[in-house]
């Protein structure tokens, strides 16, 4: 089964769970006065769940036939069948780095976490000229922080939590 059918299967399952939540669990919490309304908070989700299952089944069963396009796989186009050729390790490491950044942003402060993120990101991609990357990251971080915090007035905690800001 092709990847798109697997996704359709997951989608149909998801819609069933969503529909179950909409049909059987949401209405119990509804206060009596709202039950007199013609439209309930669960009405729209119910419609969506049913529509989602129908459309998902159409994709899953392949009812709508696609035109046979046997175009040559382009070197720059992305194709999951060639996943083994790709630099999947780098991509996963970058995703991990993003998660780490999300978790560290508050405790470590904007300046430290962002410059670390930028340097580590380029290091993962194979950059070894740290004498260029570190100043670039530091200047960019400082500039963005100044722009966002001082010019636009959106608060970004610059330093780690123990430094009291």
């Amino acid at each position: 089964m092709a990847l798109d059918r697997w996704i359709a299967l997951i989608f149909v399952t998801f819609c069933c769970i969503y529909g179950y939540a909409a049909f059987f669990t949401m209405d119990q919490l509804l206060p009596p006065f709202m039950q007199r309304n013609p439209v309930w908070p669960s009405t729209f989700p119910k419609v969506l769940a049913v529509l989602g299952i129908i459309v998902g089944m159409i994709v899953l069963l392949g009812i709508e036939k696609a035109d046979e396009e046997d175009d040559e796989p382009n070197a720059t186009e992305i194709n999951y069948r060639r996943l083994g050729d790709y630099k999947i390790g780098q991509a996963l490491m970058l995703l991990g780095l993003m998660v780490l950044y999300a978790l560290m942003l508050r405790p470590a402060g904007f300046l430290i976490s962002t410059s670390t993120f930028l340097v580590a990101g380029s290091a993962i991609l194979g950059e070894r000229k740290f004498h260029i990357m570190i100043p670039v990251a530091a200047i960019a971080t400082g500039f963005v922080w100044y722009l966002v915090q001082e010019v636009l007035g959106i608060f970004l905690r610059p330093f780690p939590f123990f430094m009291g800001m």
């Binding site: 790709y86 630099k87 995703l95 993003m98 962002t114 991609l125």
Partner: protein, 505 residues
Amino acid sequence: MLEGIFIGLEAAFSVQNILMVVAGCLIGTFIGMLPGLGPMSIIAIMIPVAITLGDPAAALILLAGVYYGAIFGGSTSSILLNAPGVAGTVATSFDGYPMARKGQAGKALTIAAVASFAGGTIGAILLMIFAPALSSVALLFHSAEYFALMVVGLSAIAAFAGTGQVAKALMMTILGLILATVGEGALFNMPRFTMGMMDLQSGISFITLAMAMFALPEAMFLVLNPARGASGEGSGKITNLRFSRAEGKAMLPVIGRQSIQGFFIGVLPGAGATIASFLGYAVERNIAKGDEQAEFGKGSVKGLAAPETANNAACTGSFVPLLTLGIPGSGTTAILLGALIALNVTPGPRLMIDTPEIFWAVIISMFIGNLVLLILNLPLIPYIAKILSIPRNYLIPFILFFTLMGAYIGQNNATELLLLVGLGVMATIFRFADYPLAPLLIGFILGTMLEDNFARSMQLYRGLDFIIARPMTLGLLVLAGLLVLLPSYRSRRARKRAEGVADGD
């Protein structure tokens, strides 16, 4: 009217006001480039500055400059990085980004600038002519019609999907609508599908989803397949900034049509630039012929010009209900309304009579804003486009950083970043499986409005009667059904015909 124009010119043309508009355009362009800060937030940020000016005309001129600058800045990040920061520029990235990847970033930016200028200017002319009359038409649209109009908008995605892709596109739309139901709705004061998490109470933010759907998968693909970034960039040289005479000729009718269509969609409160740009793209794609239609989504000049023109014209159109009825049609005009009231000007039916100089100063400032933007930005384009020639080891971490920042600034919530990564991985898998992602985002954007209007009309008519009771609603819904079914009917007929020919041989 002529008298009014002179009043406006007199108010708008002073050294101070010209400086204001130049400053506004520059600020708007540069901040607008940061994904996550759309025109709405930038105008909100600039309001304190505008109010301290004290003079309503000067304040409005500054804000108009910021507004147009921000829209253009938003298109820049859509075209160069596939990171649309504003809903209205999502459609711009469909053809703008492929063009930039082909090494025509400079040309794409020039087209965007020219199309925006044309859309904005024609929109302003239409505003001058139609503002008084249109205010009564906008009032004819009730929630039932809005509901139907949005269903039409969602069905128009059938136009985005190629043959055999309609079901997939619809699936993505429904997923987008489902994601929009997360959080607390406006009509019901109860959280839905939050799974008990406080951070989901306010729903998933649009910026987070937009970044996750477009920017993150693109950055991931650049990492996965280095050949992708290297191709066609022409070693970072931005050779041709101009579009050819033939391309200009192809764009001209598109600009003409989309300025008018975009403007009238913009007049409807709540519809605004987003719907205008998507519909504009869909319409142009459907009426283009053969080769030109196949070119859409792969870097078509028309496909870039259409949404750019339409969204600027619609932004201008959204001033009609604001200035004539005092009803803000979009988030941005709502903020402008706030600024006007703070400056002791009350927009509404009496604005044109009581303070004509304000009304006309706004219109004239639109012309000046557009013109200054064009003059300022055309020389800057080569430098802006240079962003693409930054080595990939530096560029990718920065794209990822700006994606994260965009999601963070809006909400100031670190959970949003985890959500972004999760949705981004999902989007990357969808891309691998050849699912279109634009419908998901459109579904998400329209989802809340769709449900609100649906619920409101259900309450007004105590059931589904509004479909029959309001002929315009019925008509729009029938049109939506046709839009969904037509592509698959057409491809089926084409296949039948092809088979018939094969049998005949």
